[in-house]
Each structure stands twice: as C-alpha cells, then as structure tokens.
C-alpha cells in the first residue's frame, strides 16, 4: 500500500488533492474482472490499489473432493486462453506422483498442443496491447488463426476454449487425419500472418512511443516480485521452465529463449512475438519427429497405465479386465500413493506450478496452484506509479492478466 492513501478522505476536503478513480471490475479496458482503485492527480497516477477475487471459484477446495481426472476441467479454467497448457501441466503432476512414464510420441504430441496454446495466448495478449493503444486491425486479423487453433483442439478433444484435453498418461484419442490436415494448414499459412502482424507494430512509431518506457521493471525487482514467464524475460532474466527443468521431452528440441532488457511494455511485446516464432519452430520440429515414427510406434497415443487411463469402450464390453478397470476408475476405487509433489510447466504467463499432497486416498489432500498472474499482479502498483492513466491501461494489457488465473 502506498503512503499517500487518501481514498478515505471526504470528497471536497482541503487535504485531498487527487481524484479517486475506480478502474472497476467491469470496464472495457480491463481484460477480465479485477479492480484497480487509482488515485490520480490530473492524469498522473499517485497510487493504486488492486482488488482481485471477483471470479474466485474455490478451485483448491473443489480439488480436495475430486479424483485426479476430475480436476482437469478445473485446471482449464485457470489461464483460459491457453488451457491445454494447464491441462498438460496437471497431467504431468499426476504422472510424477503416480510414477508414470509417457512414451516419446505422446510427449511430442503434447508439445504440439502446448505450443499451439502458447501461440494462441501470446496472440491474444499482443493483439490486445495493440487494441489498447488504438490499433484494432491486428486483433481482428489474427483472430482467423486463433480460430484455426481452436478447430485443431476441437478435432482432438471436442472443445475449443476450455479443452480438458488429454488424460493421465497421454491423450484420449490419436490425432485424426483432419487434425493433421488443419495443423499442416496452420504451419503453412501462419508464418506469413505473423510476419504481417509484426510489421503492423514493431516499427510503428505510434506504438513505439506508447509502449517504450511504459511500466519498466528491473530484473532484481522482477525476481523479488516472483515474476516468471515473458514478463521476467522482458526484464532480462532468461528463466524458462522448459529449459531449466525440461518436461515432456523438451530437451530433444532446439529453440532459443528471447530476452529483453528494460522490462517495459515494448520489450514484453517483442518477447511474446519472438516466442511465437520459437513456438512455431517447436511445432514444426515436433511434427517432423512424429512423422518419423513408423509401424506400431506411430499408433501410440497413451502410456500403458490401466489404473488411471480409461480402457477403450469396445474392450469394456468384451474383456473382463477392461470391465474391472473401467468400474474401478469411474467409481473411484483406486487410491493414489501417499506423497507430495511439486511440478511446474511454462504456462503462457510463466511458471504454472501444481503442489499436490496426497494422503493415500481417492482425492488430493491439498492441491495448490502456483498461478503466475496472481503473483506478478502485485507489482502493478509499482509499475504504474507516476505514469499517466493511459499508460496504466497499456501496462495492464501487456502484463497479460487473465482473471481466471488471478483468482482460481
């Protein structure tokens, strides 16, 4: 909290020189429901106080009542712009607890899905930064390619936004021919689109003047605030969970981590942009690697873990073991091993962590989500203090605040 908190002084009193402005939970410029009470002196912001929790859905309490596979739909709703990453992160946490090893092909398929989600999330963030500075065209133009990504998800899991994709040990079905065709179309057409989107903004004088020097943060402050992800990388620290603690076979791939220098909005935009190129390269590499699998290997889409992976329905009707496993999984008669595990993945906004404590029952004893948005939103006051009101809007959108991840 700032030292000049004159929100409580009565309006019109002599001492109160500033106006209290409520950048309220429902506001066209805040992307999601969170509130900022700003004290502005003219147009300069003197202090700000953030309120979150408007979309708090008690996920951690819910998770104590649900078996592992029923928690996946609630992880969707954390960062809902890149929900496959949340799902995959959760499945990997469960696999770590249960000691399940996924085959390589599953890992590569997961990488394709996670990088598509990352592209979708960064596209939304970057185009919204454009909208907030007044450039609406970029946002609508790349919408077509976000649609294509959602169509790819739909082919694989049936849903577009909150995907509930994958299972513990792999995927619910192999990617079908339409999914591959759509992916090939995406890989074919998207680079040109990203190039054009880039050209609209990166050397655009108005955009640069709006975003350079806006809301900068130094690397030390960012680390102290617990920043991770593109916001931290824009400040100059090259911490990326995919490289530091590789999961899902990321170590087999060749990609670089873009790093900025000042941590201002322009750097964040550029880092996200460059990350989209890296994600595209990762998808192409994973696609090539999957094409190299031949014969029986090419049909593998899940690990062999009958205690947690539902058997195929045809087998349930004919085979006794499949029937028993099906019953045990659905009726929740399978206990987890006791233990505590922390696993993190590189989400769209940074290190998305899952801390799972199991006491040997059906459901977790405690599940905590380490949500990057929640953690770096604390720094918002420091970022906007002293800048203009319009800068506050641009800083908010360049931080990529997703309300679902703020509140859980």
């Amino acid at each position: 909290m700032s030292d000049v908190q004159n929100i409580l002084l009565p309006e019109g009193s002599i001492e109160k020189k500033t106006i209290t402005l409520n950048l309220g939970p429902t506001h066209p410029a805040t992307h999601g429901v969170f509130q900022n009470i700003l004290e502005v002196d003219g147009e300069r912001i003197k202090s700000s106080e953030s309120t979150v929790g408007y979309i708090h859905r008690a996920f951690e309490k819910l998770a104590e009542r649900r078996p592992l596979y029923q928690i996946t739909p609630i992880t969707d709703r954390l960062n809902y712009c890149s929900s496959p990453i949340n799902n995959m992160g959760w499945h990997m946490t469960c696999e770590k607890l249960l000691n399940v090893k996924t085959p390589k092909r599953v890992d590569y398929m997961r990488i394709i899905i996670m990088e598509l989600a990352r592209i979708s999330d960064h596209l939304i963030c970057n185009s919204i930064v454009g909208v907030d500075t007044g450039a609406y065209t970029g946002f609508l133009y790349v919408m077509q390619y976000r649609e294509l990504i959602y169509e790819i998800y739909e082919e694989i899991c049936g849903s577009r936004l909150t995907t509930n994709i994958g299972r513990i040990g792999g995927f619910e079905r192999n990617f079908n021919a339409t999914a591959w065709k759509k992916l090939e179309k995406f890989l074919d057409e998207y680079p040109r689109v990203l190039r054009e989107f880039e050209n609209l903004f990166t050397r655009n004088r108005i955009f640069m003047e709006r975003t350079i020097g806006c809301g900068p943060i130094s690397a030390e402050r960012a680390l102290n605030y617990g920043f991770t992800g593109p916001n931290l990388r824009a400040a100059g620290v090259d911490y990326d969970v995919r490289v530091h603690t590789p999961y899902s076979s990321y170590e087999d791939f060749d990609f670089t981590i873009p790093v900025g220098s000042t941590g201002d909005c322009y750097d964040r935009f550029l880092v996200r942009n460059q990350e989209m190129w890296q994600s595209l390269s990762l998808i192409e590499q994973a696609y090539q690697k999957i094409q190299d699998f031949k014969g029986a290997d090419a049909e593998v889409y899940h690990a062999d873990v009958p205690e947690y992976y539902l058997p195929e329905k045809q087998k349930v009707y004919t085979s006794m073991e499949a029937l028993i496993w099906h019953f045990k999984i659905i009726m929740g008669e399978i206990d987890m091993p006791k233990g505590e595990v922390y696993h993190s993945v590189e989400g769209g906004n940074g290190e998305l962590g899952f801390y799972l404590i199991s006491d040997g029952g059906r459901t977790p004893y405690r599940l905590h989500f380490r949500r990057p948005c929640f953690i770096y939103y604390q720094a918002y006051e420091e970022l906007v203090k002293g800048s203009m009101l319009s800068d506050a809007i641009v800083v908010m959108s360049s931080l990529n605040l997703i309300a679902g991840e703020l509140d859980a």
Binding site: V52, E60, L62, R65, G226, H244, E340, Q378
Partner: protein, 181 residues
C-alpha cells in the same frame, strides 16, 4: 559442480543444528522443517549464503492437518495443525527446496516474509484468507480472494465444500444434501 541435496542439508545443519529437522526428499525435492520462530532466519540464511543462493520464492501456502493437535504436556502448547510451506528456487544452480513451518491453530502467528521477498505479500494474504494464518508484520493482511465480510477460513478441513446454510437450493435429488456433500 552443482549443488546437491546433501550439501544443502549439511549447510543447514551446520548453521541451525537440531532446529532444522525432518529432512526428506519426496520426488527429489529436499524438504525440511524448522520452528516457526526461526522461519525468517532460515529464509535469510538461504538467501544470503553464497553457495545456497535461494533467492526466488516460488510459492507460499498452507496445509491444514486437523489431526495433529497440540500435545497436552507441551509447555508451549505447540501444535502442528497448520503448516506454512515455502518453495524456494536457486535459479543459478537450478535447485528447488521445500521448507515447512508448523504452527498450532489457536495462535497461528508466523513472521512475514515480505521484507525479504516482495512476492510473499499476496501469497500470505491468500494463505490468511484460506487458513487464518496470521502473518506478523504484514503490511496489509486482509482477505484477498474471498469477500471481506467472511468470518471463517474456508480451506480448513472442518468446513465442507458447500455452504450448508443456503436455503435457496435443494440438491436432494442430485445426491447432495443432508450429511453427504
């Protein structure tokens, strides 16, 4: 030469002796506990020491163990119902550790880590909101995710998932209601 769990454990025991205890390595992450009075000293030591360098607080949250009540003969009445768990990360050597402090539920006072890590601010508010852990010295300890008027701490185990005082819905037909929720 990377930092191993044994080295971290040795350094901690060297500095704090008997007070750090219960070392274990679930799934490869070194986990230990210390008395709640020492939490800042341990965090500061882990931050300052040049080989340990745990300068990133990944996560801070609490767990409620209702069965670990205060022992009746303990002069301090020091129970272990609420655990505050810190996950720390050494970004240079890429090592993570988990540090727990236990406190009893009647006096859940734990010193705040906000002086050392600015990130602990909201994490501690969330922990206070859900479990009622009182962080001594926190600049702004009020509820963050729940409504300010809430007078109980929902993630404690004694509270069920749904608010039993609601009269506007009847979920008897869905298998909910009565004592089953």
């Amino acid at each position: 030469m990377s930092l191993t769990n044994e080295q971290i454990q040795t350094k901690l025991i060297e500095k704090f002796g008997e007070q750090v205890s219960n070392f274990s390595e679930p799934y490869g992450m070194l986990t230990f506990e210390a008395p709640k009075e020492l939490n800042l000293k341990v965090l500061q030591f882990l931050y300052d020491d040049e080989t340990l360098k745990f300068r990133f607080l990944t996560d801070l949250q609490a767990v409620h163990y209702p069965n670990d009540k205060a022992r009746p003969n303990d002069p301090v009445g020091w129970g272990r119902e609420l655990a505050v768990v810190y996950h720390l990360h050494n970004l240079v050597d890429n090592v993570r550790i988990r540090f727990k402090v236990f406190t009893d539920i009647n006096t859940p006072d734990v010193f705040t880590a906000t002086q050392l890590y600015a990130t602990a601010n909201w994490m501690e508010r969330e922990t206070y909101d859900f479990f009622g852990v009182n962080f001594v010295g926190h600049p702004n300890l009020k509820r963050i995710l729940n409504v300010d008027e809430m007078d109980y701490f929902p993630l404690r185990k004694e509270y069920p998932l749904e608010d039993q005082t609601r009269i506007d819905k009847d979920d008897e037909m869905f298998g909910r209601g009565g004592s089953i929720n």
